[in-house]
Amino acid sequence: MTTASEPYVLNIGPQHPSTHGVFRLRVVMDGERIQDIDMVVGYLHRSMEKLAEERTYTQNIPFTDRTDYLAAMSNNLGYCLAAERLAGIEVPDRASYLRVIFAELQRLASHSMANGTFINDAGAWQTPLMYMFREREKILDLFEMTCGARLTTNYMRIGGVAFDPPAEFFPAVNALIDELPDRIAEYTELLVDNEILLARSRGVGVVSAEDAINGSLVGPVLRASGVPWDLRKAEAYCAYGDFDFEIPVGHVGDCYDRFMVRLEEMRQSVRIIRQALDGLPSGPHKTEIPLALRPAPGEAYARVEGPRGELGFYVVSDGGPAPFRFHIRAPSLINLSLLREMAVGTSLPDAIVTLGSLDIVVGEIDR
């Protein structure tokens, strides 16, 4: 004799503490066990890709801020690289170094946020998030003193960066870089051994290396599954070839590995920033380009290793002042696509932790 139970549908979102934005999971559950998940996206769609076809190449930079609002610098960078590739513009060395510095600072800020919210999803009552916000706040202060904005920076320009950092930037960033290894060690000490966190995240949401590649996962999620793939090494765009750093690779591809890979990437970012600050060349920070850039007809695709993974911009020019086609390959959307495979058969808390470990930004999923 068995007791029969009937499945029911639980709507997680669009408004829910753990969806990290307006995004909906339609979960079919049997008790606490998940039988099926539908991901419903589109609540934050702002048709950026279409709007971009009506604006000049320079005017499109602010759009990229608003896709992944936690990693505006990386998005600026990816788009500017694509536009430069399309128009054949050379970038001064100093600009490349500054781009690396700010992209890595952005990675630090974004990974702080990702790890903090991940542990929040695992049930810690905001405390790790607040600790990690402490460092993120300082990084955002650095952004503010350089370009005047904290979140939607709009700092990169086609042909370089918008401003040279002010004089007080360098002592501040040096102090931060000196402080950060201690802070990261503090997180490691507090969290890496935490028995509850281990019990919640190890063996949860496992993706094998084969599945990760087949699902075309990117970024820390891919690396956590054991695939050593990082565009900063593979393509060495900007000045990444000049720096000595390593990429962390996980073992089993569970949530814990993703957490650890992000933590280690923060250490490596500190290393890169230090080298970039030491070797920062002098010279102009920007190549002068015409305001209404009219690239020759053609197409270009540029990709960068954003905090969430491979971020690609595809730009097509018909010779006019605005792109003919503008497309963003958003890492969050691609990483999210495997959530169903990770979460079906597990329980609701596991699914939430898995979702948190994927580190999605809904602005980027819907664009």
């Binding site: 695992a122 049930g123 919640r200 054991g226």
Partner: protein, 474 residues
């Protein structure tokens, strides 16, 4: 000029108590303590007995009042004493005093603790906490209450209205009733019944049903999930909790709370020191019953929004929130009573009011609860269930057997009580450590950190082949 908050931090000036406020407070405190010491000297030297002016023990004053009332009404029996019994006036008066005492204590404590908890959590989370309403944000609880009262109470469509309205009230009743048998001082206890421990367990089990009603009547999947989780947790964790209290009852030989405390005072031994395993079991099970981290799965906000009170708004939510806080304080009080010696502090209770000693212990216990809440992540439901059934219940049963043996030795061994107690303390501590380790290994548990692997660092990139290569290298 560009603001660089970083190099030149724009700090909010920290407000401190000014000497003008501090000095009178200090004088009052010193005077109060001096008065206590003076009375204690008089009592110890035998020149003063426990009368109403011995305000270190509020029970004396009430006792004096009762006797006075009995004297006044004894010689004039009227129709009222026919109806209500002989001592009706003193009964009613003492009952009113006790009830008003409990009500006002719980009310004041809730108001203060909402502030304390938020400030403490703020400290833990490197932020400031509420500091805008009133001095140091002290009026924040009032502001919260006013806001909650003003809010519209929404009732979801399809909800069972009657059963939706009832639970916030129903959960409040056990929250007040549990305070009745708590001994604050030697004679200061409202309901010193001889089944006090059972009474506590019975009363605390009553709120289960109210929580279940709340979740079921909300017509919301989150609320229902939360209610189911709560009920499952409460049923499971009531067993180790009761077994932990069984050890206490067994060793002190009484279910009366005042006698349990008196035993600890007489033997100068805290039961939490004597049996640490029981203390741990009780505390952990209580956090599960209270829905506090690491066991707050019933209202896990990252999973099921707010659990059983998802649909409650306004003061209904406020009541649930207040009960939750009040029960946390009550658990701190019970840990203090059963395991930390209640109002006794190795003779110090002769010199300061015992209820202050007890309040200090409550505060310490509550601080630990807040600390846990600010620090730990959350377990999963199945992990908690497994922990209760496979882990806590067997080892606390073994502990009860051990305590039973110790109890019979204690009773029949003809040496001063200090020797067996010291012996038992050592035996129990060793037992606690060994049994926890042994049982964990027995169940096949290996500490996770033994198999921990930090991410591998590499400088070369590649695809699937590289991944497989890396895997074989390990």
């Amino acid at each position: 000029m560009m603001r660089s908050a970083w190099l030149d931090p724009v700090r909010e000036p920290t407000r401190r108590l000014s000497p003008q406020v501090l000095a009178p407070l200090a004088v009052l405190l010193v005077a109060f303590l001096a008065l206590n010491v003076a009375i204690a000297v008089l009592i110890v030297s035998g020149r003063l007995d426990g009368h109403w002016y011995d305000f270190r023990d509020l029970g004396n004053a009430v006792q004096a009042l009762r006797e006075w009332l009995d004297d006044r009404t004894a010689d004039q029996p009227g129709w009222l004493s026919d109806l209500l019994g002989d001592h009706w006036l003193s009964y009613i008066v003492t009952a009113l005093i006790g009830a008003i005492g409990i009500l006002s204590f719980v009310g004041v404590v809730l108001l203060v603790l909402i502030w304390v908890e938020r400030r403490l959590i703020g400290r833990i989370q490197v932020r400031r906490g509420p500091n805008r309403v009133g001095p140091f944000g002290l009026l924040q609880p009032f502001a919260d209450a006013i806001k909650l009262i003003q809010k519209e109470t929404l009732i979801p469509r399809g909800a069972d209205r009657f059963m939706f309205y009832l639970p916030p009230v129903l959960v409040f009743i056990p929250g007040l009733l549990v305070w009745a048998p708590v001994p604050w001082a030697p004679h200061m206890s409202y309901l010193d019944i001889n089944v006090g421990v059972l009474y506590l367990i019975a009363i605390s089990s009553l709120s289960t049903l109210a929580i279940f009603m709340a979740g079921w009547s909300s017509n919301n999947h989150y609320a229902l999930l939360g209610a189911m989780r709560t009920v499952a947790m409460m049923i499971s964790y009531e067993i180790p909790l009761s077994i932990a209290l069984l050890s206490v009852v067994l060793f002190t030989g009484s279910m009366q709370l005042s006698e349990i405390v008196q035993w600890q005072a007489d033997h100068n031994m805290w039961l939490g020191v004597l049996m640490p395993l029981a203390l741990f079991t009780f505390f952990f099970s209580s956090t599960a019953e209270l829905n506090r981290t690491p066991n707050d799965i019933a209202e896990a906000e990252s999973e099921i929004v707010a659990g059983f009170h998802t649909e409650y708004s306004g003061m209904k939510f406020g009541l649930f929130y207040a009960v939750e806080l009040g029960n946390a304080v009550a658990v701190a009080a019970f840990v203090g009573t059963f395991f930390l010696g209640g109002w006794s502090l190795f003779g110090l209770e002769e010199w300061v009011p015992p209820y202050l000693v007890f309040a200090l212990k409550i505060a310490a216990g509550y601080f630990v609860l807040v600390w846990l809440r600010g620090t730990l992540p959350r377990f999963r439901l199945d992990q908690l269930m497994m922990f209760a059934w496979k882990y806590l219940i067997p080892i606390s049963l073994l502990q009860v057997i051990l305590v039973a043996f110790e109890r019979s030795i204690f009773e029949h061994w003809d040496v001063p009580g200090v020797i067996p107690l010291a012996l038992f303390t050592i035996v129990n501590a060793v037992f606690a450590v060994r049994i926890v380790r042994f049982w964990a290994r027995f169940l096949g548990y290996r500490p996770e950190r033994e198999t921990l692997l930090a991410p591998t660092l590499t400088r070369s990139v590649g695809g699937l082949q590289a991944a497989q290569r890396m895997r074989t290298v390990r």
